[in-house]
């Protein structure tokens, strides 16, 4: 198993120059303990892409290393054919909700406005226009009525939506979302997925860390199976199969067979679940 690394990107006919994300030989280590090994990956444009793998597989680390938040031991990354540093403005990031202190003295609108800080630039304060833009993003995630609510008084799902709105405000082309569905109820999940579809319909690419295998086929077009190594990556129909899932998750099969049975019941990839 250790030697069956597949370079999923190479068998696709996307020209790497245009790919939203192209990763070559990425290795990441924390304190000399490697967490990601030799990842080779090219992602297609304008699709919803799931990153799946067990806890500790390095999914968050993968996103963070792409975004330069975790140093890479080796490897190269390009975003739309250029280095990440020069393409930052095209990349939006929705971190895991637990990564910040929600008791911070700001309201939802303030957080969303942070997505505009780069546009606003040094020293200049947030003005009416920016606030209007931030409000628009909140509207898109159905949170406009909570704009002036202190963030500690929001529920987990609402906080998640505020984070999404912050990324939307930035108006990026490629979004990385770390478990946006974690701990949200069915209604919020539906709201988020319809938002993702909306993003897809205007040609944006979303890379989403996702834990619920059952919904992978219904929500996503493309899947990246990760467990320290890249197990496989490609369109859901071709790579989301039992063999690959076994490789990714090891022994825990009961859950997987269930997921696959569910998947088998839907013969065609459903384009719209709502």
């Amino acid at each position: 198993m250790a030697h069956t690394r597949k370079t999923a990107g190479s068998k696709k006919n996307y020209t790497q120059a245009q790919a939203p994300l192209c990763v070559k030989d990425l290795t990441v280590a924390y304190h000399r303990k490697p967490v990601l090994w030799d990842i080779d990956l090219t992602l297609p444009e304008g699709q919803l892409i799931a990153v799946v793998g067990p806890n500790g597989a390095g999914k968050s680390t993968f996103i963070k290393s792409v975004l330069g938040l975790v140093p890479r031991a080796s490897g190269a990354i390009s975003i739309y054919g250029k280095s990440y540093e020069s393409q930052r403005h095209l990349v939006g990031y929705v971190p895991q909700r637990e990564s910040v202190d929600w008791d911070f003295p700001v309201n939802a609108l303030d957080v969303v406005a942070m997505g505009l800080y780069r546009q606003i630039g040094w020293f200049r304060p947030v003005n009416k226009n920016h606030r209007k833009k931030a409000l628009d993003s909140l509207e898109k995630v159905g949170m406009a009525n909570y704009a002036y609510r202190q963030i500690s008084q929001l529920s987990g799902g609402q906080q998640q939506r505020v984070f999404l709105a912050r990324a939307l405000a930035q108006d990026a082309r490629l979004y990385f979302m770390d478990e946006p569905f974690a701990g949200v109820d069915a209604a919020t999940e539906r709201a988020i997925i319809s938002l993702l579809k909306e993003l897809k319909s205007v040609g944006k690419t979303c890379v989403v860390v996702h834990h619920d295998l059952q919904t992978v086929p219904t929500y996503f077009d493309h899947v990246v199976l990760l467990n320290m190594r890249l197990v496989d990556a490609g369109p859901v129909e071709t790579v989301f199969n039992e063999e690959n899932l076994k490789k990714t998750y090891g022994g825990r099969l009961t859950l997987l067979t269930h997921a696959l049975n569910e998947y088998a019941k839907t013969p065609q990839f459903p384009s719209n679940t709502d």
């Binding site: 990031y93 911070f104 309201n107």
Partner: protein, 493 residues
Amino acid sequence: MRNRAKFIHRNLLSILIIVATVLIGTSFSPAVSAGNLATDSLRSDLVRVFMFQDYNTRVVVTGTTLLGLAAGLIGTFLVLRKRALLSDTLSHATLPGIALAFILMTLVSGDGKQLLPLIIGAAIFSVLGTLSVLAIQRFSRLKDDAALGIVLSVYFGLGVALMGMATRMDAGNAAGLSSFIYGKTASMLFSDALLIAGTALVAAIACILFFKEFSMVCFDADYGMTQGWPVARLDFLMMALVILVTVIGLQAVGLILVVALLIIPAASARFWTFRLRNMLWLSGAFGALSGFVGSGVSALMANLPAGAVIVLTASLFFIFSMVFGSARGLLHIGMDRLRLGRKIMDENLLRDLFEWSETNPNEGTPGIEISALKHRRSWTQSALKKTIRRLHRQKTINVYSENRVNLSKSGRLAAFEVVRRHRLWETYLITHADVAPGIVDLSADRIEHVLEPELIRQLEEKLEAETKEKLLSSPHTISFTGADGHRTPKMTR
């Protein structure tokens, strides 16, 4: 916009009260201790200090006030970045720097006690202290608090040893160094005060200028990094400002207490507001006032060290804020809880009366007996009595002679609203959340009182078909007679 107006409106009074209390307090306490004979000269002293008549005092007090302002401002970010303990460590780490600078200057120029070199020495060692903490965190598996503790004690120990050497070199001058440990404005020269005032002003302006950037780094540094902000450099700038305020604060407040001036104003401000901008201003104001009062009092009474008075003033603000704060003060939270409790009781009573009048439409009866109301819910005798009295005072209910009550005209309107909300919520629970009709009344009871207008609007939208006739009929049976329905057990209990 309205929020801000409300904030100012709510807090202005409290701030004025604080200022008045402190000013009155400080003008009385020395008067008491000084006794009657000295009252006259004391009064003139007071006037001299607080009216800024004496030029030297004016400069010292201004300098310390600006120092407090700067400490309050940068302290806000320090607290929000969760680095309060780091600032304690780096202020203690200044001691060897002060002692070394003193020794060097004594060797070089014969006079060791010059503020600028001492401050530079202090700054260098506080940077070294910070770097040591970072190095320990990075290269060992020690937890953060252990790293901070080690650095603090090692540097402070080194400082005490070097102070001993300094005293041996020039005992007369070295004695003055104790003001760097405990804080003393009396020994401050005019030029010192000027240096402090200037630096504090710069630090304060930097905090205001970098407001947006600092707040982002404090809230979500990783996100800031993905946005291309030089987070590490901003972080460094923040720490540099902390170090700057610490070292210029050494002489006035002393290295043991300077951390209090950085942390306490920010912590106090947190009780008044949920908005970072307001917190920043309030914290700056608390810091400035503490500095003002502290240096004023210490100018008045030479043997009261300024550092102690400043910190005590700041902690008075803290206690005051903790109790009376309009955002998180204990009183505020308690009142909120009390108010919600009352609201729930009021609404329950209104609803019961309304539903009773629905089931007893004949206008002739002079209301329901209070004892029947009592059995309807698990009211305690006194709670029911108080609620009835409260509603009676608001003229929403009429109370009749033989312990009977009913809704007044205005009460009917209020009750209608309450019942409508309750039924909306009940219907929602049954139709959309799959709660069985039998238990729906109970679950609705728990939540309806805290429904927000927004949610009510959404519910109405969702249940538009059902709400056509304005008031839904209750989805479960309402019974006051105990004949049937799920309420029966309650009636007999």
